[in-house]
């Protein structure tokens, strides 16, 4: 059976709100980065920009938002298509594996992002 244990917040409202809030953060971030790219910066400008703490925090926030957004979105897709109803009991296994892989990818990107942003 498809259950809600692997959803992000266990509450539909929480997930829904999370999806909306992270979407707004991502939009703001991509507009910001888009504006910077259009201004045609070189290495020195990029480097100066990302040496500022607020840019790093903003980038981190966007990265975490991406992770949460992807989790909620993909969770909805997986629980639509990789289910017992659609593919028999294999559906449950495939779904859990897909969710596990999604989690690992999200975690990797987050840790990697911290490393890049703070040059650890």
């Amino acid at each position: 059976m498809v259950t809600a244990v692997t959803s992000l917040g266990r509450s539909g409202l929480y997930d829904w709100l999370m999806q909306r809030v992270t979407a707004v953060i991502l939009l703001a971030y991509f507009l910001f980065i888009g504006a910077v790219v259009i201004s045609g910066p070189g290495y020195a400008e990029w480097s100066a920009l990302f040496s500022q703490t607020w840019v790093r925090v903003f980038s981190m926030l966007a990265l975490l938002s991406l992770g949460a957004h992807a989790w909620v979105g993909l969770w909805a897709v997986f629980t639509d298509y990789f289910t017992e109803r659609m593919m028999g009991s294999a559906g449950n296994v495939i779904r859990l594996v897909a969710q596990f892989v999604t989690g690992i990818i999200m975690f990797t990107y987050t840790v990697w992002g911290i490393q890049i942003l703070w040059g650890l």
Partner: protein, 234 residues
């Protein structure tokens, strides 16, 4: 001659469903799809479908006509027929019992979940529970549903999770009682809807609004429920 292709399946004799081609002489008239189905049944009495009122009231003849769900009795050929061809299929997503007849158990189970009846724990007044005209107006566009299932069976979210997503028809009825000034079970009703499936599987693509033969808007009702859940949580 109208070319009709009709979905046939009799689990007692057929290994698999198949499409049967039938020619129908409509005499050039813009008949209703149900009229055509009756003409087919006159030719071949083994064709099975549900119908009763033949005027869009009972909700029993929901079928899929050239890919669009609707009531056969109130859908004119001119609205659905393209290139003189009409494809008739059962409502999608529900198990087929025979030909155009589907098993609506899943649909009714979701309807039952929303407790579609008035609940009020205050002592009953001598005559009746009164509503102001404004309060009554809030039920317009909600109470008219005839449970034909055209909406829920056109909703992808309901196809994939018919056991957990209540679906547009059930949610429209849910809101009908949430919005009723005489109902006092609002909190208990909302508490049951907060999980990630019951309401939040709706992704707002409005297939339901598109097909409702009564012109109702389940997506809007779902939006109201979401707002009530949001207000309750904050």
């Amino acid at each position: 001659m109208l070319q009709v292709s009709i979905y046939r399946y009799n689990p007692e004799t057929d290994a698999e469903p198949y499409m049967q081609d039938v020619q129908v002489d409509t005499g050039g008239k813009d008949l209703m799809v149900l009229d055509v189905m009756e003409m087919i049944k006159a030719q071949d009495t083994t064709v099975v479908y549900r119908r009763s009122c033949r005027e869009g009231v009972c909700g029993s003849d929901g079928v899929n006509m050239n890919g669009v769900n609707g009531l056969a009795c109130v859908t004119a050929l001119s609205k659905v027929v393209k290139n003189n061809k009409l494809v008739l299929r059962p409502l999608p997503g529900l198990p087929v019992i025979r030909d155009l007849v589907v098993d609506m158990s899943l649909f009714y189970a979701q309807y039952e979940k929303v407790q579609p009846y008035l609940q009020n724990d205050t002592p009953a007044p001598a005559i009746e529970r009164l509503q102001s005209p404004e309060e009554r107006e809030k039920l317009d566009g909600l109470y008219e549903c005839i449970l034909c299932a055209c909406c829920s069976t056109s909703c992808p979210s309901f196809w994939w999770n018919p056991d957990r997503f209540i679906g547009p028809a059930g949610l429209l009825q849910s809101y009908r009682f949430l919005a009723d000034s005489r109902d006092t079970a609002t909190e208990a009703r909302l508490a049951k809807l907060d999980d990630p499936f019951s309401v939040f599987r709706c992704h707002g693509i409005q297939n339901c609004v598109n097909v409702c033969p009564k012109g109702l808007n389940p997506t809007r009702a779902i939006g109201h429920i979401r707002n009530m859940l949001l207000t309750r949580a904050t």
